[in-house]
């Protein structure tokens, strides 16, 4: 194991294990979950796999869910992003049902968000009332319950 990787893995493990009632921790990770050791995985409350309504993205999420189980993460859920219409919604629901994945929420496709990201700032500051930001706000209750 290269030492840069070991440093990240070690520090992430310490931070996650130490989080308690006075701190929430949110980790943004790549689909390979490279920095998660089994020990760190067990300390996570929940892992959220984000997917878009197209095959490769859904397959990647399926892999994330499988990896999470191997890492001993008990609570693994799925959130759909950039959902445009009923066809998108159905495709995702069908995929999740077929693979035993627990879909807990969705964020709509939102052009105003794309615009905010082009400017390079926080969507919650630039477009606070946008459908996507509103959806993520509602999602916070579901994901922290």
């Amino acid at each position: 194991m290269c030492s840069a990787h070991a440093t990240v893995r070690g520090f992430l493990g310490e931070l996650v294990a130490r989080a308690d009632n006075d701190r929430h921790v949110i980790v943004d990770m790549e689909a390979g979950l490279e920095h998660l050791s089994r020990g760190t995985g067990r300390h996570l409350s929940r892992l959220v796999a984000v997917l878009e309504p197209y095959y490769r993205s859904m397959e990647t999420a399926r892999n994330v869910v499988a990896l999470s189980a191997e890492l001993g993460i008990d609570d693994v859920v799925v959130v759909a992003n950039k959902v445009r219409d009923a066809a998108d919604r159905d495709a995702i629901a069908e995929f999740c049902a077929a693979h035993g994945m627990r879909l807990v929420g969705e964020v709509p496709f939102d052009p105003t968000l794309t615009q905010a990201e082009r400017q390079g700032g926080a969507p919650i500051d630039l477009v606070p009332g946008s459908p996507a930001v509103m959806a993520i706000t509602r999602l916070a209750d579901v994901l922290t319950a």
């Binding site: 701190r23 790549e30 998660l36 990647t60 926080a122 706000t137």
Partner: protein
């Protein structure tokens, strides 16, 4: 709450992670929210609303934070040897709504290997 968010690059996982961090920071205050960017292409800072100049000033974790220790049976292993809270203070950044950001992808290439 210890939440990890993962997905294929471009799925918008970072937008969701960063916005969730801000939403939580507002509802859970004074409880602190620590957002950890463990992506090799880190851009959580921008979604959190941290200015580019401040984001660029974030320095990598030195590898010297890892220590080699010897077990009772004589084999060695590498452990994180520093105090995590002081590492957070030194290498983390504070953004809007007092969200604390730690960028993991930026591990320094210098220092003891």
């Amino acid at each position: 709450m210890r939440l990890a968010i993962a997905g294929k690059g471009g799925t918008g996982k970072t937008t969701i992670a960063g916005t969730l961090a801000r939403v939580l920071a507002r509802s859970a205050a004074p409880r602190q929210v620590l957002a950890i960017d463990a992506d090799t292409n880190p851009n959580l800072a921008s979604v959190l609303g941290i200015a580019p100049q401040q984001a660029q000033a974030i320095v990598g974790l030195p590898r010297s934070l890892m220590e080699r220790r010897t077990r009772e049976d004589g084999t060695t292993h590498v452990v994180f040897g520093a105090d995590p809270e002081s590492v957070l203070r030194e290498y983390g950044a504070i953004g809007p709504d007092a969200v604390r950001l730690m960028v993991m992808g930026k591990v320094g290439h210098g220092g003891a290997g």
